[in-house]
């Protein structure tokens, strides 16, 4: 195995141990996050390794990985920028924010990753911050009441190699880092800092 060896194998074992004996399959979701934390996406090799750890077929793991939007099966930028355009955000200008993100990033609609590999833009469904709409997440950390101008600033900061401070909680260094936190293997104390 190339992804799950050494410390990563330890992490995988701790993830599997969260679930009752005989119910190890439950660990497939956090293990996919672990793969994503290393690869920045989920490759076929990643699916195979998760299958190997859980004694599943690759197809069974792929069925799960392709069902959920937070697992990225295709090349993804170092930072994932999600802009909500669902009704509550749309009513407060979310669609303009989404357009501003594309223009600022110099990316066409449907372009999954910027040419420099830094950014992926994603039109999001409701992110559960309707009270602070329009909502944007950068590597799953929230930015509240985002205007088109603020969106341009956020993209400019990312382009300058800086992670903008989220409205609440710690900065995630990257999409990979956020995926690692989502696997639940980072101590909460550290992740909160």
């Amino acid at each position: 195995m190339s992804i799950f060896d050494g410390a990563m194998l330890e992490d995988a074992r701790s993830v599997i141990a969260r679930y009752p004996q005989g119910r190890e399959r439950s660990a497939v979701m956090p293990l996919l996050y672990l793969v994503q934390s290393v690869e920045g996406r989920i490759s076929r090799e990643g699916l195979r390794e998760v299958a190997g750890l859980l004694d599943l077929t690759t197809a069974e793991v792929e069925a799960v990985a392709t069902f959920y939007t937070m697992y990225r099966m295709r090349p993804t930028g170092e930072h994932l920028v999600n802009v909500c355009t669902n009704l509550a955000c749309m009513l407060r200008g979310g669609k303009d924010v989404y357009e501003a993100a594309h223009a600022a990033a110099g990316m066409a609609h449907g372009q999954e990753i910027s040419e420099d590999g830094l950014l992926t833009l994603h039109e999001e469904e409701c992110l559960g911050v309707c009270d602070l709409a329009p909502a944007v997440q950068i590597d799953f950390m929230n930015h509240d009441n985002v205007t088109p101008d603020r969106m341009r600033e956020l993209i400019a900061q990312l382009r300058a190699g800086e992670v903008p401070a989220p409205a609440r909680g710690p900065k995630m260094e990257s999409f990979r880092h956020a995926s690692r936190v989502l696997a639940g293997v980072e101590p909460a104390e550290e992740a909160r800092a």
Binding site: P20, S26, F67, L87, L91, E125, C130, A133, M172, R192
Partner: protein, 433 residues
Amino acid sequence: MTLDVERRLTRDWDDPSVIGIEGYRAKGGYEGLKRALEMSGADLIQVVKDSGLRGRGGAGFPTGMKWSFVPLDTGKPTYVTVNYDESEPGTCNNRELVERDPHRLIEGSAIAARAIECHTAFIYIRGEYLWQSIVLQKAIEEAYAAGLLGKGIAGGDYDLDIVLHRGAGAYICGEETALLNSLEGLRGQPRLRPPFPAVEGLYESPTVINNVETLMNVPDIVTRGAEWFRELGTEKSPGTKMFTVSGKVERPGNYEIPMGTPFRTLLEEFAGGVIDGRSLKAFTPGGSSTPMLPVDALDVHLDYESIAEAGSLLGTGAIMVLDETDCVVAAAERMVQFYAHESCGKCTPCREGSWWATRVLGRLEDGYGRESDIPLMHDMGTNIMFRAFCALADGAASVINSSLKHFADEYEAHVRLGRCPLREAPAVEGVAS
């Protein structure tokens, strides 16, 4: 907020110390759990039944009754699963409840576990709530360190583990049986019922699935009693309820009010009224899947029964407000796009119907609608409603049916004018408006 309303779930929102276990305990936190450990499961279920607490996730099913359906003599373990997937568009009260008071959820979950003799509880949190999962993980670790979770909690002989499970972006996982599949490491598609989860849920074992807000009401019910709980709210919908008000209001936010409060009070006094002094056009009373209501419903009372009488549902208490300048067809298009995107693909009426509906709504909004599109929308709404396996499809159909019912004129105007009457005529030269 100056309004003189007793706050229960949100009473400590102004005190960030309760996020830590010391602060929470200083305010009487975990006393409910201690009390619960001295009570029998049957007595706990009885007090929750007596309180009349109903599930806050949308269905409004009596919580105590749900717990009482769990058989304890099957020889299998029992499970409590907390539904923190909160994904209904317009809904974000669970997010804030946990951000500001995470231990109350842990305590409520532990009491539920005790009531059904469960030793492993799972909290299923939507993946996008990354910060909230960090807050909750920290609180769980504090509870273990304080001996309130783990082996022999609070010095007794009762063991309880709580496992946090992060989702990965799928609205359907808020449907309880889809949530169970997801937690078991499968695609999040709903299961056939019966068997109901109370009998055969997680890992084919008896399972209680409760919403976050529901469980956060439980500690107070145990310490203060069922009668206290019933002092607010209505006879059939007791207690307070969290409402999220979003869209075109002056003060969007999460507000806790007694069940049965008039919508007008929530809108005008809490949320500051419609933005910029405009008029109300429409609102969803319980998230995008509940039928939208027009301005005539301004005086509806916010409880399960009154909203049902008005032709909608309390749902998750997520009120999205449209003002006079907002287009109902554009709103319907965006809401139905959501269901088309989130359909799990299991059933044809939902998977295909919601997608086709977005095409028709889209062309209406863009000015290419035909007269036949309005009966076609009626036909689609009728043929999606109640014809799929779970309620996700009904959400899409509710948007279609309720917008047609209350705003037929606006649909017709789109066809007649060949454009959206609320959008300025296209500014492109040579394009007729």
